[in-house]
């Protein structure tokens, strides 16, 4: 790895888009010693000596993507995903940094577990893994985890993901305590009592299928609470996977007040609706059929209505939602081959994330621009992390993602690098695909070797 990293690379003739530097032009990107050496003024066809060349003509050259919300499942649930397979899936999806959620077994609520994850990632990960620490001991919402110890161990924020911090006072204390550490609190916002055991979005589809619905207000209510508490404490709050119009309204008001808050949205909430539960790729069938109750659409927060989806896209486009994060949640086949009620929550996202949203951009660039899409996968999350990532600036780690914007491909989960196949997009044709991913100056994915 070290030897390979010393290689010099010239990525030639691609359309370089680096929102952090305001760059969008045809240029060459030069890499040496695992760092970005230079973005040339233009692509002049001249190749410096000693550089291995990558012909990027017709391709988009982007900083490697940064995912603030990934479930790697290791330690504890290695049959679903491991750090090795999860980081490979990341590389295949163009991500060179993933932030690992702490809902492992054991939970990442002590420095020793975090250390272990980081050591494993160093040994077997093909991209950068940044850990997230738990807010509460065992993620059970009773008392604070040793947040200072976790910060010293290198976590980039705190979350009990999957388990909302239901106790408003504990949430207040977590926020207040985190101020000193300078790290964000990331709370899965869902009022479980209001959600009342629902398994999908409340609305016409849930009613028709006879599935218990979670009202959008179950999310909105807790997002609103958390924003108020962020105001009270002055802490940094990062809202994961926003999915409702109400959350967006609350977020707008909080940002107008100048609160220190950021928000992410997932590819699936931007591109899929609750109508996908019918199992007909978003079409509403004449009658409920054997493909209905598609357990691969079961996710928390649930796929919402078209109205929510439209508002989320607008909010991302205008920058009110700061970033796209995957909430990549791999599950074994047995977790999904069952009734909808029994199925585990979560969608396998890393390898379809960029393409699923780019397909939207390709259809209607006015809705969401390519530049904004890439920004929300690179400069946006890097700013939240406060690290020198997500840009092709000279001296930064040479993390680069090459995309073929013309390529059409059909999602085949059996070909995923991820250990799991739980995506509702199987068989769906997408436009645009990550073809090469470079991490610290080394190719960690090349589609030509996997086509």
């Amino acid at each position: 790895m070290l030897l390979a990293a010393r290689k010099k690379l010239a990525i030639r003739g691609g359309r370089v888009i680096d929102p952090a530097q305001g760059i969008d032009r045809i240029a060459d990107v030069l890499i040496s010693n695992g760092k970005i050496e230079e973005i040339t003024g233009k692509s002049d066809g001249h190749t410096p000596d000693g550089y291995e060349q990558i012909d990027a003509s017709g391709l988009i050259v982007s900083p490697g993507f940064v995912d603030l919300h990934t479930h790697l499942r290791e330690p504890g649930q290695e049959w679903k995903e491991t750090i090795a397979t999860g980081t490979q899936a990341a590389a295949w999806g163009g991500f060179t940094t993933v932030c690992a959620m702490p809902n492992t077994e054991p939970v990442q609520d002590t420095a020793s577990v975090v250390d272990d994850v980081m050591r494993r990632a160093e040994a077997v990960g093909v991209v950068r893994v940044l850990p997230i620490g738990a807010i509460s001991v065992g993620q059970n919402g009773k008392r604070l985890a040793p947040m200072g110890e976790l910060a010293d161990a290198g976590v980039i924020g705190f979350s009990d993901d999957g388990n909302p911090v239901s106790d408003a006072n504990l949430m207040r204390q977590a926020l207040a305590y985190s101020v000193d550490l300078g790290l964000p609190i990331i709370n899965h916002a869902e009022d479980k009592r209001l959600g009342a055991g629902g398994v999908m979005n409340a609305g016409a589809v849930a009613t028709r299928l006879g599935l218990a619905g979670v009202a959008a207000e179950a999310e909105t209510a807790m997002v609103t609470r958390d924003l108020q508490l962020a105001g009270l404490t002055g802490a940094r709050l990062h809202i994961p996977h926003v999915s409702t119009i109400g959350s967006i309204t609350a977020l707008r008001s909080a940002k107008e007040r100048g609160l220190n808050v950021t928000a992410e949205v997932t590819p699936h909430h931007l591109t899929l609706t609750d109508e996908w539960v019918y199992g007909q790729h978003g079409e509403v069938p004449e009658s409920v059929g054997p493909e209905s109750y598609d357990t691969n659409t079961k996710v928390n927060p649930p796929l919402r209505s078209r109205a929510d989806e439209e508002v989320l896209i607008e909010a991302l486009a205008e920058g009110l939602i700061d970033v796209i994060a995957t909430d990549h949640a791999p599950h074994a086949a047995t977790d999904k081959i069952c009734t909808y009620n029994e199925a585990a929550y979560g969608i396998n996202v890393l390898e379809t994330a960029f393409s699923s949203i780019f397909t939207l951009v390709d259809v209607d660039p006015k809705m969401l621009s390519l530049g904004r899409l890439i920004e929300s996968l690179t400069a946006g999350p890097a700013a939240i992390l406060g690290r020198d990532l997500g840009s092709l600036e000279k001296g930064y780690s040479a993390d680069v993602t090459l995309i073929d914007p013309e390529m059409k491909w059909t999602v085949n989960p059996q070909a995923f690098a991820s250990k799991s196949v739980n995506t509702p997009l199987a068989g769906v044709e997408l436009t645009g695909r990550v073809v090469i991913t470079i991490y610290q100056g080394t190719k960690v994915f090349d589609l030509r070797n996997h086509g």
Binding site: A202, G203, A204, V205, A206, T207, R208, L209, G210, L211, A212, G213, A215, V284, E286, S287, V288, G289, P290, S292, Y293, T334, I337, C338, T339, Y340, N341, E342
Partner: protein
């Protein structure tokens, strides 16, 4: 060209009026057989039907068992609710195990909506939905149609009032679909806590709700006014515990079907209930056992309708059914 032979009965939404009428006509003949002194025909001799019930139900299970036995099939009852799931056996394994024993039909009752669809995807046997979660109960709806048709003839233009626990009722969902398919007008009434959020009292639902033209009454009196059929649904004690209702007493007072409300219905209107009844709560005892009540007849119709369904799905040989339409 004939349509492919029906393999499963999962709900009535994928049947047209003609196919439903065919089943009801067949049930007429079955009713005659079921009423004989010697109730046995060889129609399904050599066929094996399993009733696979993950929820307790006496009437529906016995009704299917009786239907299968009158037709000469071997009927095996599996109460799966406790036995397999408590041992951690998955639904998929249970189905695969039963199928390996060469069965012709699986009659499934399951607390999870969609479970019969899941099973249908993983078995070659015919699947009959005997009630799934809060989604559908198609044989109940067929017997409701059968009972009403016997008394009122053509259903077109008839007004059907369904009163009760709409949010959690699989009978309500299937009945709305079934009666509308036969041309009837359906109106529902219940406390707002038992109505889906997107259904507004005093409105007629649009196409995007999946229940187009369903009328949501402002109150129960508006629903039963001029109705040809009044259907009361069972109110579960747990609705009160979950906070949907202040008390069963208040429900009885404001939504219960009693003689005053039956008097508001059309002359000769029928009173129905899918059972089991909470007399004194959703239905008053005097009307439940009064001249307008066809509740016991619903139970009789149930056997005949289920005979018709099992016959339609099982009469063909397994190889012919699984050979996908070669008979046509």
């Amino acid at each position: 060209m004939m349509a492919d032979p029906r393999r499963h009965l999962l709900d009535l939404d994928d049947l047209d009026a003609l196919e439903i009428e065919g089943l009801l006509n067949s049930a007429e003949g079955m009713l005659e057989i079921a009423g004989r002194d010697v109730r046995k025909t060889p129609a399904l001799r050599g066929k094996t039907i399993i009733t696979l019930f993950f929820e307790n139900s006496t009437r529906t299970r016995v009704s299917f068992e009786q239907a299968g036995k009158i037709l000469g099939a071997d009927v095996i009852n599996v109460a799966a609710s406790t036995s397999s799931l408590s041992k951690g056996e998955s639904l998929l394994n249970t189905v695969k195990t039963l199928e390996a024993m060469q069965i012709d039909a699986l009659v499934v009752r399951h607390p999870h909506s969609g479970a019969p669809y899941f099973i249908a995807n993983h078995t070659d046997a015919s699947v009959v939905n005997a009630g799934d979660g809060t989604h559908a109960h198609p044989t109940q709806s067929l017997l409701d149609l059968f009972t009403v048709r016997k008394h009122l003839g053509d259903l077109a233009g008839k007004r059907i009032a369904i009163v009760g626990d709409i949010l959690y009722s699989r009978v309500a969902r299937s009945d709305i679909i079934a009666f509308q398919k036969m041309g009837a007008e359906v109106v529902v009434s219940c406390p707002n806590t038992l109505l889906p959020d997107e259904w507004q009292p005093g409105s007629i639902l649009g196409q995007q709700t999946g229940f187009e033209n369903l009328e949501i009454a402002r109150n129960v009196d508006e629903a039963v006014e001029g109705a040809d059929v009044v259907m009361a649904l069972r109110i579960q004690q747990e609705r009160q515990e979950a906070g949907h209702l202040p008390s069963l007493r208040e429900y009885s007072d404001r939504w219960g079907i009693n003689s005053r409300r039956m008097a508001m219905a059309h002359d000769g209107a029928l009173l129905m209930h899918p059972g089991p009844m909470n007399e004194g709560v959703e239905i008053a005892s005097d009307v439940a056992h009064g001249v307008q009540s066809v509740i016991e007849e619903q139970v009789r119709s149930g056997v005949a309708v289920r005979m018709a369904v099992l016959y339609a799905l099982c009469a063909r040989s397994r190889s012919a059914r699984n050979g996908a339409g070669t008979e046509n």
